[in-house]
């Protein structure tokens, strides 16, 4: 058995690595994707292009503007002069936020009345809009609070110190600086492996069928089980290599901390790869051409990634959809990846994810092997 399996493996590896383009495909795209993801995938909001129309020209309004100027979240565009400029700046997308300070702003403040501040936000990108509006509020509130405080100090110096107030002391754990990169990079390891291993495995058998070499293999004494092993082991190893490569890059290049244990990550990776091989084989058995396999694989890959919590919190999905997410192996692997990388927790927290992947992997592999036997007959 081992002699035959060995021959099969030699053939598979030859086939994968013989072609210059395929060789490139195994290494180039994952690295490229990792780099693009690391740099481009970010929900962080800095330097929001902001236009200010100051119609008051008072020391108060200038003080407020200077607060926006010194904030890292806003980049001020050249000051506007008319109301029309605001709609133009927002319409053309030059500014995401426009702030209008009405004439009489300082007068109202000095009289102890409420001075309105008009803020216009381009809601096209709802996430940027939400967070930018929050920052505007923070700056405006801070300005108001200090103005109030100063005035009270002038009116009744004694009371200013004793007015009670509650403050928030936030402690973001695991990712203190709230870096998007730390969130996305571990996730990329899971999603890239998914794409690579599933499509490669899905193509593996269909290709032989389409080129017509499957029949040649069938007339050799190789047994179906050996054939399946021969087809999956190379991709299992390629998957492991990819995880190692991308994972190393994530830590060394992007500086994402690795706080957990390598052994836990290895166990999770093995279980996850078994799931992926099962899916790939299954697609292979139900596809007649490579084009079909490609499209079918895509139909698995897209939902599996979207519903895994890779970029979008599962808790924001409708309830019925949340149940579906339990079927995505990536959902569990992502928890393992992020926990191992950022939280540094071990099996005591991760056993539910590990068992879910083990169960899914066992199920998928069994079904695909059974179907495979049938497809070969």
């Amino acid at each position: 058995m081992f002699a035959r399996l060995k021959q099969m493996l030699i053939k598979e590896f030859l086939q994968v690595f013989r072609d210059k383009r395929t060789r490139f495909v195994l290494l180039g795209p994952p690295l490229l994707q990792m780099l693009i993801f690391g740099y481009a995938a970010t929900f962080e909001i800095h330097h929001v292009p902001t236009a200010i129309l100051d119609l008051d020209h008072s020391s108060e309004s200038r003080e407020l503007v200077s607060r926006f100027q010194s904030s890292p979240y806003f980049t001020l565009l050249p000051p506007l002069t008319t109301h029309r400029d605001i709609s133009e700046a927002i319409d053309h997308g030059d500014a995401t936020v426009a702030i209008q300070i009405h004439p009489g702003f300082a007068q109202l403040l000095r009289n102890g009345q409420t001075a309105p501040l008009q803020v216009i936000v381009d809601g096209t990108n709802s996430n940027t809009a939400l967070i930018a509006a929050g920052y505007v509020n923070q700056i405006a509130k801070g300005f108001g609070r200090e103005y109030q405080h100063d005035r009270m100090e002038r009116l009744r110096p004694s009371s200013a110190a004793v007015v009670p107030s509650v403050q928030l002391e936030e402690r973001p754990w695991y990712n203190t600086d709230l870096r998007s990169r730390w969130f996305f990079v571990p996730g990329v390891i899971g999603s890239l492996t998914l794409v690579i291993v599933v499509t490669l495995t899905a193509f593996a058998v269909v290709r032989e069928r389409e080129i017509g070499t499957l029949e040649q293999i069938m007339v050799t004494p190789i047994r179906p089980f050996e054939f399946i092993l021969g087809k999956t082991i190379p991709f299992f190893l390629i998957g492991l290599a990819d995880v190692t490569l991308i994972g190393t890059l994530g830590t060394l290049w992007f500086g994402v901390p690795f706080r957990g244990s390598l052994l836990v990550l290895l166990l999770g990776t093995v279980l996850y790869l078994i799931c992926m091989l099962g899916v790939g084989l299954l697609i292979s058995t139900i596809s007649a051409t490579q084009q079909q396999a490609m499209i079918t694989a895509f139909f698995f890959v897209m939902p599996a990634i979207t519903f895994s919590g890779f970029g979008f919190p599962i808790s924001t999905m409708p309830q019925w959809l949340q149940y579906i997410t339990y079927l995505s192996p990536l959902r569990y692997f992502l928890v393992v990846l992020r926990s191992v990388y950022l939280k540094g927790v071990g099996m005591e927290s991760l056993w539910p994810q590990m068992s879910a992947m083990a169960a899914l992997g066992f199920f998928l592999l069994t079904v695909s092997v059974l179907r495979f036997h049938k497809a070969l007959d």
């Binding site: 481009a40 709802s126 509006a133 051409t289 490579q290 999905m317």
Partner: protein, 377 residues
Amino acid sequence: MSWTRLLAVARKEIVQIRRDRRSLGIVLIMPVVLMLLFGYGVSLDLKHLPVYVYDQEGSQQSQDLLKRFQASEYFQVVKAVDNYPEVIRAIDGGRAAMAIVVPYDFSLQLRRGGSVSVQAVIDATDDNTANVLIGYTQAVISGYSEELQVNWLQQHGGQQLQAPLSVDTRTWYNENLESRAFIVPGVLALVMSVIGAFLTSLTIAREWERGSMEQLISTPVTPLEILLGKLIPYFVIGLIDVGICAAIAVFWFQVPFRGSVLTLLVGSALFMVVVLCMGYFISVVARNQLAASQLALVATFLPAFLLSGFLFAIEQMPAAVRVITHIVPARYYVAALKKIFLKGAPAAMLYTELIPLAIFALVLAVLATRAFHKRLV
């Protein structure tokens, strides 16, 4: 160029598409699935985030503050705990997104006057969720704090103080800040890219792999006729998909459509030409379906997903990546889509998007025609 030969190639391609029922079916339901996938699955509108509370004091006042978290739709207080280790375990295990810790001397400090800190321990693995959480928590706490101050001033007989600043925020184009309205229009770009990537990228590579290229070369058909004959069927399918997508976006997801159908058609047709020619070019260069499919994925789908502004705001990316996005055709298409759907921009306002798209279409069409030689080696 001969119309009969062109039509013959097109007819051959159509027969091939029609024979492969599954691929055809998938191509037509793909837009539906992707639309539903992103419409439902991709949302950044965080609500009901699981929160633990740890009230060290347990007084009337601390309970008052915590009740406000209960009342907010953004939080869901799942558990009240009475020790710190339990807080740590909940955050480690991902059962709580945040834990609010009220200090043991909360009301005492408030009576004495001055500032008291309430701690929020946040699972910042997902930086975006953490950011939004901090914003919401800040709003609850500062609201509470302001009321405390007003009450205190009233009790101490001071004059009625008004808040110095009121921020009046107006959101344009996406008034309710729904992430769905922001994401769904961009899905059109994804669907187009997928069709370009998965269908056309395989069409020439398949002929090479199956050996039918020799037959094609021995006919008098010219490279340009092959290009057009192969791409026109997919172009038609692509336009049908645009229609399906737009219909779902508007009628099912109720995304506003404020622009004109004609501009949508022009923009989509241009982008179709771009992705189809790109897929064709890849197909000619790669020569085997495995490599072609992987390359197509990297060249069309991935940039459309990551570098187009579909999800991740381009202006937030590092400068080097921002420069790269200028050579991503999807960037212009996504920008045009958002302007057409949400801003209702007339064609005159879209020249910054449509002209680059037209240039890309032209360049890629020339490249694709030039790349294909009727030679066997």
